[in-house]
Symmetry: C2
Subunit: 185 residues, 2 copies
Amino acid sequence: MRLVRRHGTGISTAQIAAEARCSKETLYNWFDDRDGIFLALVRAQAAEMNKALLAGFSASEGRLEERLRAYATCLLDIMTGDALIVVNRIAMAQACEDVSELGQTVLGSWSQQVEKPFLSLFEEGNRNGTLAVHDSQEAFEALLGLLLGDRFRRLLLGEDARPSSESMAPIAAKAVQRWLILYRI
Amino acid sequence: MRLVRRHGTGISTAQIAAEARCSKETLYNWFDDRDGIFLALVRAQAAEMNKALLAGFSASEGRLEERLRAYATCLLDIMTGDALIVVNRIAMAQACEDVSELGQTVLGSWSQQVEKPFLSLFEEGNRNGTLAVHDSQEAFEALLGLLLGDRFRRLLLGEDARPSSESMAPIAAKAVQRWLILYRI
DNA sequence: TTGGCAGCGTACCCTATGGTTCGGTCATGC
DNA sequence: GCATGACCGAACCATAGGGTACGCTGCCAA
């Protein structure tokens, strides 16, 4: 990940081995081939993300609005983190009509790990009578849009658009506040 | 562009020459080197986008809300079009800490061509007294977020998430309607 | 008619790189 | 003490692919 962040997606196996301070042979012993390295990278990032999300989601207590804010802060942190950016760059570089192995993996782990918790939270709000979410997929996209805007694209293109750690929570709070204008009963 | 769309960003110059039905030598005569081809691609797409935006923006008349809808539809069309996706994939693939030539170009043409018209439209609304936009950059991001949500990322990853041409206008209208809830006086 | 020029097709050069092999070293466990 | 196995460094192989050279064709203008 460090290498891709620094030198783009075109790094060689020799570079990877040097950075990992192991021999090329060991590298090929651990992973089947070059693509296997990237696949493992994607999977590792997905696992890492899962851990961070679970931590963020289970820690949050209190009113629904409070929890939404906590979730959103956590989401913003992950979405603007180096690891996710790098993994997405790799998957996008090889995405095309023919193959989309990595793209599928990234999309899958995303909807499984990120979308689902939000959808169930919306359900809860609907039952409580605090939210009026008819299409939860659409509501999730709206929240994501308000939270990130154009930032993810800019980060992918190499602009340093990551908010400082202090400004994460306020940004998320603002997004949630706006989202609630649209979806609160 | 066709090639990148079909086979990803790793295509060879020989493939490009074959697809363009010219010889490799002619290709190198037209462009300095491989990177020059991609740079030209990015520039050509920027010019194309400019044309489409000018057409969409100058054609729209009527009330501010009407014009916002027209702009947003045009923007949605461009953002989900093959050309923009491909160009962004190329730029993202080579984006890193060291070099970001293409990324800079893409970001620059974007803010120049897309953001500016919107910002001036917001200004107009402020003067009219119909809008209350304090931070126009932020307002633009909100509109973009409501319009696209997660769709751009999914398209980049290879999912076929482009709305049908009939559904463009309704989607844009809905986004604008929501945006106006947040920014109308 | 002829000279120039743009482009074509093909062959070619050469470096970078994915992937393998091999001799040697070190730690572990019997 | 010794077999095992993971790993290292370095050399090696094969191929792909960026970039170039060359000879030929067809077009156009003088």
